[in-house]
């Protein structure tokens, strides 16, 4: 298109679509860019290509039926979404899950954070042409998948938690398996850091690319690793501790400039911190009940169902009708791999959710992407886009 620049020059701008089907748009995103040479003058971003009606679908079923849908929000770390949703509903009931359940959930949360960061970093590096790291990181991810399979049978979409506890207690060798995987995570991170951290090409393509200052990141509503990469030391695990995160010693990882390099490195080091939290939580894991004893949420045991009329009725009602949170509106959030994952639940006291609004963490990051890319080179789009980790499932819902 022909356009007059602010300085009054006549410039022939080239418009180009990055996406909706582009190797760097993991999922389906679209950035419509106007280029002067290779420099991006303006970028208009678009989303919704994976809008599959999450918020409409979950109004059709019961609260338990929401869980499989939450798996498919951020499908790189499905368990985090399960736990976040269950935590929000449990808050409405005023139920605290037993200590064993809390410890197991912390281990699952941190392992999920690790595998989410693995995918984010390795995909970002593939976009930059560093394919080897993909093999290194995906091998570790496959090892974590093996634990998931032993836990519930599924690799990716687990649906492993239930409102008021877990689908079932973890298998006996769970702790050993996790402890065996954590060194693999650490060595893979060390290997990949060795490959890229001081690599000239990597530094040239990521340093000072896609810079977001702390004030900009706050104004855009960023949370999570991207906010921390901009130098803002905010983490819900520290600021509003839940699930006993204040008992664990770990550092929040913060960056300096908020460029692509920092965002990648923050994720790398967060994996090591998460591994440390996993070890601490496993050390505190004691035998005990995994599900709450609250009859509004938990199914009675089979022997009770067979011998006790009340238990039979309760089991029947929980399965055929579902749980009934008290009427009202509740927002609850936790620190997911990408930032603050929140659920605003509107309950009318019935068995189906009246309205659930998801607060997806990467929505804010994608909204800021257009302004972030103005003045950058076209090739920087791939580098910066991977580093803000847009997951279309939770972005578009």
């Amino acid at each position: 298109m022909k356009a007059l620049s602010p300085a009054g020059e006549l410039v022939e701008l080239m418009t180009i679509n990055v996406g909706p089907s582009h190797p760097a748009t993991h999922g389906a995103l679209r950035a419509h860019c106007a280029l002067d040479g290779e420099t991006i003058i303006a970028a208009a971003c678009e989303m919704g290509y994976l809008h599959r009606g999450f918020e409409k679908m979950i109004e059709q079923g019961t609260y338990q039926m929401v869980l499989p849908y939450t798996d498919r929000l951020n499908y790189c770390s499905a368990m985090m979404n399960n736990i976040a949703f269950c935590k929000a509903v449990e808050r409405m009931f005023g139920v605290t899950v037993p200590e064993r359940c809390v410890r197991v959930r912390v281990v699952l949360l941190e392992l999920s954070r690790i595998i989410d960061h693995l995918v984010c970093v390795c995909a970002n590096l593939v976009d930059l042409g560093a394919l080897t790291n993909f093999w290194y990181f995906f091998n570790v991810r496959e090892e974590v998948y093996k634990i998931w399979e032993k836990l519930c049978g599924a690799r990716l979409t687990n649906t492993v938690t239930r409102i008021g506890g877990m689908y079932r207690d973890v298998y006996p060798a769970f702790a050993d398996d996790v402890l065996a995987v954590l060194p693999l995570v650490e060595s893979a991170v060390a290997e990949v850091r060795g490959l890229v951290e001081k690599n000239r090409i990597f530094i040239d393509r990521t340093k000072d690319i896609g810079v977001v200052t702390a004030d900009q990141a706050i104004a855009w509503g960023w949370t999570g690793p991207c906010l921390r990469a901009s130098g803002v030391d905010r983490d819900l695990r520290k600021d509003e501790p839940y699930y006993g995160y204040d008992e664990y010693t770990f550092d929040t990882v913060i960056g300096q400039t908020g460029d692509t390099y920092d965002r990648i490195m923050v994720r790398m080091i967060e994996m090591l911190e998460s591994a440390s939290i996993c070890r601490q939580a496993l050390a505190k894991l004691k035998p005990g009940p995994i599900n709450t004893s609250d009859a509004r949420l938990s199914l009675p045991s089979r022997s009770q169902v067979y011998h006790d009329m009340e238990a039979l009725i309760n089991s029947f009602k929980l399965i055929y009708e579902g749980v009934r949170p008290p009427a009202g509106e509740c927002y609850d959030a936790l620190e997911a791999a990408n930032g603050e994952l929140g659920f605003l639940i509107v309950s009318d006291g019935g068995t189906n959710p009246y309205r659930i609004k998801v607060r997806p963490p990467c929505f804010t990051q994608w909204a800021a992407f257009g302004p972030m890319m103005q003045g950058a080179m076209l090739s920087d789009v791939a580098a910066a886009l991977g580093s803000i980790n847009i997951i279309a499932g939770e972005l578009d819902r």
Binding site: H26, G27, Y49, R52, Y75, C76, V119, F138, R155
Partner: protein, 195 residues
């Protein structure tokens, strides 16, 4: 009772070919393998399928798992992932297709050169999955013809590998006449794999 070995039939007599045995095989000996053009071309196509991963959702993460070293799609000659439809032989639809996405999918399919094949990976691409609502296409075969359907939500990497193997068998059965039917879409026999 003692065992008596069965005598082998006498082999071909050594020496030069008899003058009445003509044909290229006899003239050239073992130095050249002959075949039909169809078998030769299918052999090449079957063993170097270049996939275009049209990954939109969760299934794309499992496709990444399929390509990664544990499952290693390159054992079947299909590891060279191409993101340009003009360079790809097989498009793998991995993920939900919404109505907003549908025209894009059709356009990309049209940009692929014949012969081309389509793998519909997972419940969403195949039937819409459990997203039965206002914005999801209930199965991509409303938009493009499909060769292989994979079950699962998402399918396991083994199912992706099975789909590639089934597609290779299908490629072997094709005749040049069908795959050269440019301008019209060839009739497809549909195969389902997975759980």
């Amino acid at each position: 009772m003692t065992y008596k070995p069965v005598p082998l039939p006498p082999g071909p007599a050594p020496g030069p070919a008899k003058p009445d045995q003509r044909g290229s095989e006899n003239l050239l000996g073992d130095t050249v393998v002959t075949s039909t053009a169809e078998a030769l071309i299918n052999w090449g196509r079957r063993n170097s399928l270049w996939p275009f991963p049209f990954g939109t959702a969760c299934c794309a993460i499992e496709f990444m798992g399929t390509v990664s070293s544990m499952h290693d799609l390159s054992r079947f000659g299909a590891e060279l992932v191409r993101f340009s439809p003009r360079q790809a032989d097989v498009i793998i639809i991995a993920g939900t297709i919404t109505y907003k996405q549908a025209p894009i999918l059709r356009q990309i399919y049209d940009q692929m050169c014949e012969p081309k094949w389509v793998i519909s990976a997972g419940a969403c691409a195949t039937s819409g999955g459990f997203y039965d609502c206002y914005c999801t296409v209930p199965g991509i075969d409303e938009i493009i013809p499909v060769d292989i359907y994979i079950a699962g939500c998402p399918p396991r990497p083994e199912a992706f590998l099975e789909a590639i193997v089934q597609l290779q068998k299908k490629v072997d059965r094709e005749t040049l006449r069908v795959s050269q039917a440019l301008g019209t879409e060839p009739r497809r026999d549909r195969i389902a794999v997975g759980a």
